[in-house]
């Protein structure tokens, strides 16, 4: 059986979640995180950029449930508003690298021979390059801002998806049904897009989920370094950085809350990705 089986959307969630508590829990957390990114900016108790010198550096209180930062901005509001950029930019990155990675993987598997071998080697070399390093160099060339890491990390994450999808696509292309399609006069493009792609798609999704976890971490780090999203815009990585001087005064809440959210998101998507891969592996 091929990577199939894991299919069909509404049934998918149900079937996956059944008898797997960890998977159910991570899927619930994912849903909450995605909801945060969607509605977070609209439900902030205060405008996230509104400073209030009189309320600066406060601990948690009835007015400010998580307290305020050194400029008096409400931390809860900033965390909620920061959810969208913190999750959106990694998502765009992973989307781009998954599409490109899958396309490269299937093209390599379909052509086979030299093309495939060269692609595989190039992917391995790319895999060895650390994402942060590329992003830092990218910032030097392209300048800072949220779109710079999107461009550089999209390239960096291509091998994360392509390597795994390629080996599945190579297996798929060797199955007799692909030969049967060739014999029946279907074009290579059609066989790749209608048949091979559909059969490796579940794996692509699982791999993209994993890559999303890593991208979250890299984006947080890049923003923390001041190369990504720029202050005063709220973003979790930025907030960890902004909270640093406050920590010297014993006010841990800004760095800690933003940092915990990043960790939570990274762990959630990593577990989800691993579980999905395992499920696909089991049904193969």
């Amino acid at each position: 059986m091929s990577t199939a089986q894991i299919a069909r959307s509404p049934a998918l969630v149900k079937r996956l979640a059944r008898h797997d508590l960890v998977l159910s829990a991570t899927m619930l957390l994912c849903a909450i995180l995605i909801l945060l990114a969607l509605v977070g900016p609209f439900v902030t108790p205060y405008p996230p950029d509104q400073t209030d010198i009189l309320a600066a550096g406060q601990g948690p209180s009835a007015l400010h449930p998580l307290g305020t930062d050194s400029l008096g901005r409400d931390l809860l509001s900033r965390l909620l508003a920061g959810a969208r950029p913190s999750l959106l930019f990694p998502a765009i990155t992973v989307l781009i690298s998954s599409v490109l990675g899958t396309a490269i993987a299937i093209a390599a598997a379909w052509h086979g021979g030299r093309v495939d071998q060269v692609t595989a080697r190039v992917l391995e070399i790319m895999f060895a390059v650390p994402g942060i390093l590329v992003a830092v160099i990218g910032a030097a060339v392209l300048g800072t801002g949220p779109w710079m890491p999107v461009v550089t990390l999209s390239l960096v994450y291509i091998p994360y998806v392509a390597r795994v999808v390629r080996s599945a696509a190579v297996r798929e292309c060797r199955l007799p049904y692909v030969e049967a399609c060739r014999l029946a006069g279907l074009s290579g493009w059609r066989i790749c897009t209608r048949h091979v792609l559909r059969n490796v798609a579940p794996l692509t999704v699982a791999q993209a989920t994993l890559a999303f976890g890593w991208a979250l971490m890299d984006f947080g780090a890049i923003s923390f370094l001041g190369l990504g999203v720029q202050p005063p815009q709220a973003e979790w990585g930025v907030m960890v950085n902004e909270g640093r001087p406050e920590m010297l005064d014993g006010a841990l809440q800004q760095s800690l809350s933003a940092g915990l959210l990043i960790v939570l998101a990274v762990v959630t998507f990593n577990i989800l990705g691993e579980r999905l891969s395992a499920r696909i592996g089991a049904s193969t």
Partner: protein, 265 residues
């Protein structure tokens, strides 16, 4: 319609295939297959029978020699002529896309090759399924929900959808249970009565070959050992290798025998 040609439908001339590791899979093979004929290629593993079939189907390229359809080379021909030669594979589990419903798998081929309206396509799919002994319920099934025999019927329907003149059957019934094998074998026999179609039937099973072929070729280690009318070859084999093959088939009163020393193992 092509003009009724007097020559054979398929001519194979001096076919030779050498694999990368210098293994000669097929060596100087020459034979003809006429329109409407059923020709079997018989041999054991390593005889080159499947390689021959794959080259004729266009899935592999020959090292030397020609494959001619209506006297014209097959190599590099367009889709219309490719359609004339179709193939059914041995493995009923791998030869269908696991994520494509049976009806869609057949309709896809029709859509690519023929200009048909949606309704025409649907009725053609129903007709083809009916022809191979399945019905419309099966059209909306995924291959995993079908038995091996049913999948092999679907593979046959897909091949027939392109209205080929030559159907290559590569051990097409070998992987099936005995009780199902007979069904598919009978289906193939009936199809040839209904349609003007030629078979190239690749098999190791002499009993099956006897039922379905008019003529047969016996191959061993890439070379043609013997050819002739199936009945003649199986009843009065001229070559000792053919006799060895026949003697090895379990049947009433059969006693397994050790091969004489000197035969390769």
């Amino acid at each position: 319609m092509t003009a009724p040609s007097l020559g054979p439908l398929l001519s194979v001339r001096g076919l030779r295939k050498v694999f990368a590791d210098d293994v000669v899979a097929v060596d100087n093979l020459t034979f003809d297959l006429s329109q409407g004929e059923s020709l079997a290629i018989v041999g054991e593993s390593g005889s080159g029978k499947t390689t021959t079939a794959r080259i004729i189907a266009g899935l592999d390229s020959a090292t030397a020699g020609d494959v001619l359809l209506d006297g014209r080379p097959m190599a590099g021909t367009g889709r219309r002529r490719r359609r004339d030669v179709q193939m059914v594979f041995q493995d009923p589990f791998g030869s269908l896309d696991p994520r494509q419903k049976v009806g869609a798998a057949i309709a896809e081929l029709l859509a690519v090759h023929f200009r048909l309206s949606k309704a025409e396509r649907r009725s053609r799919v129903a007709g083809l399924l009916d022809e191979v002994g399945l019905d419309e319920r099966h059209a909306s099934e995924y291959p995993r929900n079908l038995s091996g025999g049913q999948r092999q019927r679907v593979a046959i329907a897909r091949a027939l959808a392109l209205e080929p003149r030559l159907l290559i059957l590569d051990e097409a019934v070998a992987a099936l249970d005995v009780s199902v094998q007979a069904q598919v074998l009978n289906l193939l026999i009936d199809l040839r009565d209904r349609r003007d179609i030629s078979y190239l039937f690749v098999s190791h099973d002499l009993a099956v070959v006897r039922q379905i072929s008019d003529r047969c070729l016996v191959m061993c280690a890439g070379a043609l050992v013997e050819q002739g009318e199936t009945r003649d070859v199986l009843d009065n084999p001229r070559e000792s290798y053919t006799r060895q093959l026949l003697d090895a088939v379990p049947r009433p009163g059969w006693i397994p025998r050790r091969r004489q020393a000197g035969t390769p193992s």
